[in-house]
């Protein structure tokens, strides 16, 4: 089953009340929309119906069932953007109605009724034309003021940005990894894939970068996009007003499976978040001797998977995780296909998701499929097995090395027996 349970801002009002004061902003947004509705009543009939039609088309359907919508902001930055753009949409809507009604009016009123009719030969009117040169300039100047203010407001880190951790968001073909730096001391403490967890309310400092081509990190409900480019570190931040799961999509075309490169930001209450961090910091436990299937699975894992995947406590000695958040240093990462360090690795993906706490996540395969039921938390065994059996059925990739593409990108089809797959899944299930 494809990932389906996610809704933008699953946090309802009860939950939001428990988080911080940013809900005030949220209410203001609603206030904006209310005053908009009030304004509509005062405009002309046709203009009203046209704008209403547009607004219904845009917002009226609501965000229900549209996890990626930009029209239902749930964070500080996205709310600021929304507040800026709604008046611009209204101004644009008025101009649209004015011009198109004007065209319609002219087309009807000045139709030629008789082939011998000739109008007055007006060549122009400098004052009038200067007027309608200045008018749009004035409108644009008004829009410019709000734009510049919001622009710098969002570009600057908020004062209350989280001091105790930051996250480096790394794009690679075709999934995202999130490297947590607790204490903001430049050391990566743990790495997750596809899902990023943040505490509700607090703005989180983010650095985007890439291991191969340019990607773009976009959680529509929380903030605009920020490209993740190789060799560059782009500062960014976001927060979520309420607990919830906020879906995102890579938005810079990044090759074959670009459309399948998604990610999720989950906002949890502070206590939940801290518990999650504490769990992520632990290495994976070796399965108990009594759990024979998982023990066999671990052997399959170390034999077939550890050349790309990491599980802290299993193969962290071979595959040193990334060590620097401020400047992503590919040379130090020796966890490549075939465990061959490759100096030019910034050009080639080969590094696969860290699976240490796989079962603490809900989505997998580029955040495209449910790993666990969104409400039940039950393992989606069929698709996990299917993915291991034949990854290409789930997501087109280029796992084979071809020419200059020395290591391939994506999950290869590993020749495993059905028993081995069962054992492997049993082992992966222990990675809570």
């Amino acid at each position: 089953m494809r990932a389906g349970g996610w809704r933008v801002g699953q946090g309802d009002d009860k939950l939001s009340a428990t988080v911080n004061g940013r809900n005030g902003d949220h209410d203001e947004t609603r206030g904006w929309e209310n005053s908009m509705i009030g304004r509509k009543r005062r405009t002309g009939a046709l203009a009203t119906s046209l704008i209403v039609l547009a607004m219904v088309a845009l917002t009226g359907c609501g965000s229900d069932g549209r996890p990626l919508t930009t029209l239902d902001p749930r964070g500080q930055a996205s709310t600021d953007i929304h507040k800026l753009v709604v008046p611009v949409f209204i101004v644009a809507g008025i101009v649209f109605v004015f011009v198109n009604l004007g065209v319609l009016f002219v087309a009807i009123k000045f139709r030629r009724k008789d082939e011998d009719e000739f109008p007055e030969q007006v060549h122009g009117n400098t004052k009038l034309e200067l007027g309608w040169t200045i008018l749009p300039a004035v409108i644009m100047a008004g829009i410019a003021v709000g734009t510049i203010a919001t622009l710098f407001n969002i570009a600057n880190e908020p004062d209350d940005i989280a001091q105790d951790f930051e996250v480096t968001v790394v794009g690679q073909q075709w999934w995202w990894s999130f490297e947590y730096d607790l204490g903001r001391d430049g050391t990566i403490d743990f790495v997750t894939a596809s899902e990023m967890v943040i505490p509700t309310g607090t703005p989180v400092k983010i650095t985007t970068t890439s291991r191969d081509v340019i990607h773009s990190f976009w959680i529509p409900a929380l903030n605009g996009k920020k490209d993740a480019a190789p060799g560059r570190n782009h500062p960014f931040w976001l927060n979520a007003d309420a607990p919830g799961r906020y879906l995102g999509q890579c938005t810079e075309f990044c090759g074959l499976s670009h459309g399948y490169m998604r990610m999720l930001v989950e906002a949890r209450d502070q206590g939940d978040f801290e518990a999650w961090v504490a769990n992520q910091m632990k290495p994976a436990a070796i399965p108990a001797a009594s759990d024979e299937a998982a023990r066999r699975g671990l052997e399959v894992f170390t034999g077939a998977c550890t050349s790309c995947h990491q599980v802290q406590g299993v193969n962290s000695n071979d595959c040193t995780p990334i060590t620097s958040a401020s400047q992503y240093d590919v040379a130090k990462n020796t966890c490549w296909v075939g465990a061959q360090p490759y100096a030019g690795a910034a050009q080639v993906s080969g590094y696969a998701p860290d699976l240490t706490h796989l079962m603490s996540r809900y989505l997998f395969v580029g955040a495209l499929y449910d790993l666990r039921g969104p409400t039940t938390g039950e393992l989606n065994r069929a698709e996990l097995e299917g993915w291991i059996r034949n990854p290409d059925d789930y997501k087109p990739m280029l796992p084979e090395a071809t020419g200059d593409n020395k290591y391939g990108r994506g999950m290869p089809k590993v020749p495993l027996t059905e028993d081995q797959i069962d054992d492997l899944v049993a082992y992966l299930s222990t990675l809570k």
Partner: protein, 660 residues
């Protein structure tokens, strides 16, 4: 290479000055005026213009087919019409084809055909270079499209082909090489064409045709050619760097070697943004011709129309980074480009209002050409307004790379550029071919296009704001995007129906004209204003019997109409009395040549050679050398070759001194 209208000087030895009339003795000049030889060797700006138009129309159907595949794939979630790999190739080629092989050459068709006529010239300044432009464009376009069949698929990097995804590591098939080399070839074509048309407009204007008496279409084309002249070198550099990266292991975009991937983006968009105006301004020019004619009024505020066009062209250089608001450039750059982008909306707004003011108080006749022109005013406005919402940089970080952007630029390029080009086709068809396109079918074509266009691209605004990214090969059922995607897919079939109707119209209009005994539409079927309507339809090969002397803007109109005391137009002369007869003889015109074709034919070989086997470069280089030498040793004009004389060379000889 300029038009020679006098005999070469006789040599003192008594020999003719250009003794070797058949240089290298290989490709004799054809003397026929019909048949395929007359087309492949032509240097006539009108024939070249028509060939540009036909080729662009062909590629339009190719790109339209690709668009249909895209829409079929996206008609439902998890579409299986195309694989992800093929989808990436198809959307790349759709964009590349529409921009470089449809709209640009279609605008070039109009520029080639009309610019010499509108400024009162016999041809462009460099007729053989003009032919070279066309053949380079044709071969470049064909070369690009052969990537489908030779070499493992089309380019898969998007029309913008961002590094490093376009590098050989991430795009190992030859597709991107076809992109770089194909665009380099068509880029040469456009550069040569730009120089040619600029020189034509600046140097070959008829007596009295001062710059501010030129038709607005000519003005807009002049701005476009200037933009081409200065923007193409930038993309050429970028394409060269990428070619060297891919084929010869250079490291211009290799991040591991310290390259900054944003270099490509800056280079691409410094070209790419002026390119947007290169695509739209010709259509602005076309509707600025069509609207006055069918409103029976002069263009409102001619100086404002001209200067706003120049302003758009000029400011177009200062807004490129608005394509990069999310790319990681700092807030100061974002602010600067955001402001610049807002203010480019001003001259564009002026144009819209001036077109409306032109119609205001007019006596409007809604021919198909006028419908398309008014359609542009209405539809482009929508694209312009969504453009304003992009200039709000923080909002753009939500909108960029979503279907909201796809909607925006289709309203600009389809609702603007293409509607304008169709308007121009219906308007100038009788001038070029001597018969009308059927108006009833034309109006049906218009309505199908408008309805289909809005059904296809209107919903994309909504899809984009609802979070649908562009360039994704599919979406999920749970994204809530299915309904509007279905509507958009339905719309594309309405557009397709409209285009098939247009094709049918071309055929049936020709047949019914032939069946009716080829009635002539007359020199001036629409009661028009500019010089091309003062000569017979179809345009005689020599254009003007005598080069007109121009006394005002809209000179031809003022020959027909004066004004009464209320400022209303009153006829002062019958049209038949002020139009030329087209029967001049002995007009000395540039002679046809095969060498532009030969030269251009060499370049695809060099392209294939660079991709597959350097040995192929040899025949390519030989063809180029042959073309260059043959061209250099061939006089631009055969002294005995007269045009439009309908008679013997002797008769032509007598007439010669009286012309030019």
């Amino acid at each position: 290479m300029a038009i020679v209208e006098r005999e070469p000087l006789a040599l003192t030895t008594g020999e003719p000055s250009n003794g070797s009339l058949e240089p290298l003795g290989v490709l004799a000049r054809p003397s026929t005026k019909t048949g395929w030889r007359s087309w492949v060797s032509t240097v006539d700006h009108k024939k070249i213009g028509i060939m540009y138009g036909v080729t662009a129309l062909f590629f339009f159907f190719v790109a339209g087919f690709e668009a249909t595949l895209i829409r079929l794939q996206l008609a439902q979630p998890n579409g299986t019409v195309l694989s992800a790999d093929l989808y990436n190739q198809v959307f790349t080629m759709h964009g590349v084809t529409m921009v470089f092989l449809v709209i640009m050459p279609m605008a070039a068709a109009f520029a080639n055909y009309l610019l010499p006529l509108q400024v009162g010239a016999r041809d462009v300044a460099f007729p053989r270079l003009n032919a070279l432009s066309f053949w380079l464009f044709l071969f470049g376009g064909v070369f690009l499209n052969t990537s489908w069949v030779i070499g493992g698929g089309g380019p898969d990097c998007g029309w913008f082909c961002y590094a490093p995804n376009s590098g050989v590591v991430f795009s190992p098939t030859a597709g991107v090489d076809y992109y770089t080399l194909g665009l380099l070839i068509t880029g040469v074509a456009s550069s040569i064409g730009a120089i040619n048309l600029i020189v034509t407009v600046l140097n070959l204007r008829a007596p009295g045709m001062s710059l501010f008496r030129m038709p607005v279409f000519t003005w807009m084309q002049l701005v476009v050619q200037m933009l081409l002249l200065f923007s193409l070198p930038v993309i050429t550099v970028a394409l060269f760097l990428l070619t060297f990266d891919r084929l010869f292991g250079a490291n211009f975009f290799n991040v591991a070697q310290g390259a900054d991937p944003l270099l490509w983006q800056h280079l691409f968009w410094i070209f790419g943004h002026p390119e947007v105006y290169i695509l739209i301004l010709p259509s602005f020019g076309i509707v600025s011709e069509v609207i006055p004619v069918f409103s029976r009024k002069p263009i409102y505020g001619y100086p404002f129309m001209v200067f706003s066009g120049i302003a758009i062209g000029f400011m177009g250089w200062g807004v490129w980074a608005h394509h990069m608001f999310a790319s990681g450039i700092g807030p100061i750059s974002v602010a600067a480009f955001s402001l610049a982008t807002m203010f480019i909306a001003v001259p564009t707004g002026v144009k819209i209002l001036n077109w409306m003011a032109t119609m205001w108080g007019g006596r409007i006749r809604f021919t198909t050409a006028m419908l398309f022109a008014v359609g542009l005013v209405a539809m482009f406005t929508i694209g312009g307004l969504s453009g304003v919402t992009h200039s709000v940089a923080p909002a753009d970080t939500q909108q960029t790379d979503t279907y909201y952007i796809v909607a925006h630029f289709h309203y600009v390029l389809f609702g603007g550029a293409l509607l304008g080009l169709f308007s121009g086709m219906y308007f100038w068809w009788p001038k070029a071919f001597g018969h009308f396109l059927d108006e009833k079918l034309g109006k049906a074509h218009f309505w199908l296009m408008i309805i289909g266009f809005n059904l296809t691209f209107g919903p994309m605004h909504i899809l984009g704001l609802q979070g649908m990214s562009r360039r994704i090969q599919t979406y999920q059922a749970t994204d809530g995007l299915t309904f509007w995607n279905r509507v958009a897919t339905f719309g594309v079939f309405v557009i397709a129906a409209g285009m098939l109707l247009f094709l049918y119209n071309i055929g049936s209009s020709y047949r019914s004209w032939k069946a009716a005994g080829r009635p002539n539409p007359g020199a001036d079927p629409w009661d028009s204003r500019s010089l091309e309507w003062s000569i017979p339809s179809p345009t005689p090969e020599h254009n003007f019997d005598t080069i007109p002397t121009v006394r005002a803007a809209d000179d031809f109109w003022h020959r027909k109409y004066g004004e009464d005391e209320h400022g209303r137009a009153v006829r002062i002369a019958a049209t038949e009395d002020v139009v030329q007869k087209g029967d001049a003889t002995g007009v000395h015109l540039p002679s046809p040549s095969y060498y532009p074709l030969v030269l251009a034919a060499g370049l695809p070989f060099i392209g294939y050679g660079l991709i597959f086997n350097l040995l192929l470069v040899i025949p390519g280089a030989l063809l180029v050398l042959w073309g260059v030498y043959g061209w250099a040793y061939e006089p631009s004009t055969e002294p005995d070759d007269h045009h439009g004389d309908h008679g013997t060379a002797a008769a032509a000889h007598e007439e010669e001194t009286s012309v030019g």
